[in-house]
Symmetry: C3
Subunit: 267 residues, 3 copies
């Protein structure tokens, strides 16, 4: 079986297993994230109360932690959830939104890393800030840094914490345990829709719950979102229509559409 | 006047009175909930500060409490609001999202029930968990339980707390003070849009503010959302477009569309 | 250069400079606000943690404070942020959502005013409540008060705090340091979409970061949103589609569309 066909099989696995994905994410994207997970076939849960995050992690198939609008309370809840996932052996995704922008974020992120996410997904700036490599200026959530430096930073995170690292950008890179995969899908208009990176992290969360090989899981998730965005853009008049048509396409994408459009290369 | 025509009259009452509906709801659905209320002709308020919830309940026509993303602070605010509504005789709706998933949720729900909601709306799993009848496994917010057990649980909640109970599902059941009504509207794709159950609860909140008979109010609200969803789905390519077209249809639904499509039966 | 052409130049300045706009806003509108800012060419940041708001204000070009879903914690964060902006000389926008509805809101607003917003944007009721002029009944966030009284209230806020005041309604009024400008753009259906007033405030935030003259900045921002809404409405079937098509139009509006549709008059 080719790698592409194998990735499509993972898309079907998520639809068939409909894993319960527990999200502790930011206020901006909660609605979109839940809709993206539903469209991909997963079952989203959003819960952050310190009184119940342990219980929620326990019943979930995976956990997604996104620090976009973190504060002191939410940080504590995230740490409890990450610790619970780590101790139960449940895979979890870390989305280090705005890493490098404030020392508060960086402190929380360093604590979260101790609980060993299965996957880290961010843009180049965030991955570099997380690896404490090259401190570039964070401007919003867009990457201003070079791919090569980010790849080095990602490899260092993989080595230190054992996490598969996804670096999102015009090209997405998946730094896996045995290989680096480059995905050429997506469209520049996607950067004008808020929170598609957060949707990507959540979808990665669905795939790591359903697929044993975390490198393949992350690759399939990122390719799915990129292809869906690319196809949705063709029928969009701007970022407003893209946001909605992307959800439609995540829901109704066919094997043919996936296999005819996927652009992956091994580095 | 037939029951159907009477329900349409209630739709018009909401549009004419434009009741102020105070929502303490979850982060995921706040935007959609506000838009659904506006589209149905009501005036939404979202406020949760302990310092002001009493004042807000006082000026509102009704209250909607939805525990989707509750935490310790929000639970306290919900209890203050419910107590205020109870003492002022203002009708309120309880949406027990995720009941049965964690003991934290169940504890908060039992406290809220003491303040006598006019209507409780949930899926079959949630209604059963709330009635402490059959503890089924909650998987996300989808119901996995049987209708019959849920009807028994609903009847028990009505008897114990005096609340009209709406059980959402492929068929919706309204367990009223004198009758049980079954609504056959809606479309399966609606389960792939996050928070339409929450929108349903909010719309019920608008109707109980404008309509004296709470069984009829709840029935009209649930029928309206079901019909709007059904009609919207015909022009949707997936859950993304359904979410938006449903809002359009809630806003522009005509008497003819309502009466030609409503499917209600008395049990 | 005519005033209209000058305003279009400001639209282009925002697109070219892509200012970083720090928002401490309400849960209901965060997604839409971020998307409106991205569509207009700005870079949104949403952050509210007391541990990091100072740092965020420092790196941002402007700040937007919207009290829609305030509580005790968020109020403190807003005050820290406003104080920081004031001391650094960064321009900020105050959106006094629901002013007059509760004494909690009014207390927080009076404290915020001490830190001298560059622009205040609200509906007539809110502006009057803020100026402690005529206390009218707040019903949701819609204005029930007369324009004339609101203009007097706005002028008093300008005199007392030095802020440009925008009063939104069927006509928008910008009360500037040397003139009052009336904008006749927009469409009534925009009042059925939640949070477009909040989007307006955020876009004003983007413009004051990029344009030195705050009266012109506020005028350009309000005209842009009004024209985009007006043009988007022509292709909308209700408030659901308007919400999305407005974002599309904010993104792709042309100079010709802007100049052919703008309706401004000096009072």
């Amino acid at each position: 079986m080719t790698m592409e066909k194998n990735l499509w099989k993972h898309v079907l696995s998520v639809r068939q297993q409909s894993p319960l994905v527990h999200n502790i994410t930011n206020y901006v994207v909660m609605n979109n994230t839940a809709n993206a997970l539903l469209a991909a076939g997963a079952s989203p849960i959003m819960a952050h109360a310190k009184s119940e995050v342990r219980d929620m992690v326990t019943i979930a198939g995976s956990l997604v932690i996104n620090i976009g609008t973190l504060d002191e309370y939410w940080s504590e809840a995230m740490l409890i959830a990450a610790e619970t996932a780590h101790s139960l052996g449940k895979p979890w995704v870390l989305d280090p939104v705005g890493a490098g922008a404030t020392s508060f974020r960086d402190d929380v992120l360093q604590q979260l890393l101790q609980f060993r996410p299965a996957v880290i997904r961010g843009n180049a700036s965030e991955i570099m800030a997380l690896a404490k490599k090259n401190q570039t200026t964070t401007k919003g959530v867009d990457s201003t840094a070079q791919s090569n430096e980010a790849l080095t930073a990602g490899a260092s995170l993989l080595e230190q914490y054992g996490a598969v690292v996804c670096i999102s950008g015009a090209l997405d890179f998946i730094i896996g345990h045995k290989q680096i995969i480059c995905i050429g899908n997506g469209h520049p208009l996607m950067t004008k829709v808020t929170g598609l990176g957060c949707s990507a992290s959540a979808i990665v969360g669905a795939f790591i719950a359903a697929v044993e090989n975390k490198t393949e899981a992350a690759t399939a998730a990122m390719a799915l979102l990129g292809i869906a965005g690319e196809l949705a853009e063709k029928h969009s008049q701007g970022p407003g229509s893209l946001q909605l048509k992307l959800i439609d396409k995540l829901y109704n994408i066919s094997e043919e559409e996936f296999l005819n459009n996927i652009k992956i290369t091994l580095q």
